[in-house]
């Protein structure tokens, strides 16, 4: 076996994935070839980085809890639309299926509806506020129109006062005095 044939086989050899028919000539080559042997040693060294794992601690009662939820109809799918949750036939057919998971789903549903309602109220109030608050140039235009309107009304009232005064000089005291802005 040549080095260019041996090197690609080294990782599979160290993973125990080669048949004896493939592994035997590679072993012979590694005995004879120092550079390939060093390469194989380096691959073995690299594997040592993956050897440090701590024991897995499974929470007590996990399996029983999961089995209970599964038979209550919890499918483990993303819980965005709990009302559309698929309930397997085997779970649905069982008596007393409404348990912990059903209560959780109901609570989640209520919370989601509440959150959605709150969002709608906020969005509506922001939208209404936006409608009632004209921006930049339209603000001054509206104010201008309002100012012109008030001016005309005042002038009209002045005219009415003067007409009233002309008709009945004794009633001058009743003239409506308007403070101009």
């Amino acid at each position: 076996m040549e080095c260019n044939q041996a090197q690609p086989l080294i990782p599979s050899y160290l993973d125990g994935e080669l048949s004896e028919a493939q592994a035997a000539p590679l072993r012979r080559h590694l005995l004879d070839c120092q550079p390939c042997r060093a390469g194989a040693q380096s691959e073995k060294n690299m594997k040592r980085w993956f050897s440090a794992t701590n024991a897995v601690a499974v929470p007590k009662g996990f399996a029983a809890r999961v089995a209970r939820r599964a038979f209550a109809g919890d499918t483990g799918e993303p819980r965005l639309e709990p009302s559309l949750t698929f309930v397997p036939a085997v779970a649905a057919a069982l008596p007393g299926a409404a348990t912990e998971a059903s209560e959780d789903r109901a609570l989640r549903f209520v919370l989601q509806v509440t959150a959605a309602a709150a969002l709608i109220v906020i969005a509506l109030s922001l939208g209404l506020r936006g409608l009632s608050l004209p921006s930049g140039t339209s603000l001054s235009a509206t104010d201008g129109r309002a100012e012109i309107g008030v001016q005309k009304a005042l002038e009209r009232l002045d005219r009415m006062n003067q007409e009233e005064a002309a008709k009945a000089p004794a009633a001058t005291s009743k003239t409506v005095e308007i403070q101009r802005p």
Binding site: K47, F50, A52, F62, P88
Partner: protein, 193 residues
């Protein structure tokens, strides 16, 4: 067919017939391995438990689709990998997204790294390894975790990921090369001549 597989299939049948106890036995049989897998993707214990729970709940809801063509473990493991990756993405905690075609990456060089120093504590080794793994594209991290931590065979990895054994080999080759490069970027002291 192995005895464990026969027993798994029997438990599946009993579960489908309505036996909660049989499903609980299936969970007990594989919970440690699925917890172990999830732990390589997130260090948050609550997230790990949620992901493992979702894996088993999804498995239960799809149990009638299990055909017995692959082993129950491989079938469950595939659900676990997808659930964990989806869950991590949904939580926005995936440190690395695939931004390249891993199969198109140029062949790695002959980078060599030493193993952990003799005096290093297990926790320190695990911390470095997980930090480096966290920098790898998901597709590389997945094969390394399955092979190096979970000791899955090439065939099992191929079945879980739905790829050929040849692709598993080439992906592992590149994943290891990338792992070495990232390790040396963080810790040049572990380089070898």
């Amino acid at each position: 067919m192995e005895a464990a597989q026969v027993e798994d299939e029997s438990l599946v049948r009993e579960t489908l017939a309505g036996s909660q106890a049989s499903f609980q036995l299936l969970v007990e049989r594989y919970q440690e391995r699925i917890f172990s897998l999830a732990r390589h993707y997130t260090r948050n214990a609550v997230d790990v438990e949620d992901l493992v729970q979702d894996t088993f709940l999804k498995a239960f809801s799809r149990l009638d689709t299990f055909q017995g063509q692959s082993s129950f473990f491989t079938w469950l493991y595939r659900i676990a990998v997808n659930t964990i990756l989806d869950g991590i993405k949904r939580r926005g905690r995936s440190p690395v997204n695939i931004v390249e075609d891993p199969e198109a990456v140029a062949a790695p060089g002959s980078t060599r790294v030493s193993g952990p120093s003799a005096g290093m504590e297990r926790d320190e080794i695990a911390r470095i390894t997980h930090a480096v793994l966290g920098e790898l594209p998901e597709i590389f991290r997945a094969v390394l975790v399955m092979r190096e931590f979970e000791d899955l065979s090439y065939q099992q990895i191929a079945d879980v990921l739905g790829i050929s054994i040849g692709t598993v080999e080439s992906r592992l080759f590149r994943a290891r090369a990338r792992f070495k490069d990232k390790l040396l970027q963080r810790h040049p002291e572990f380089g070898e001549e």
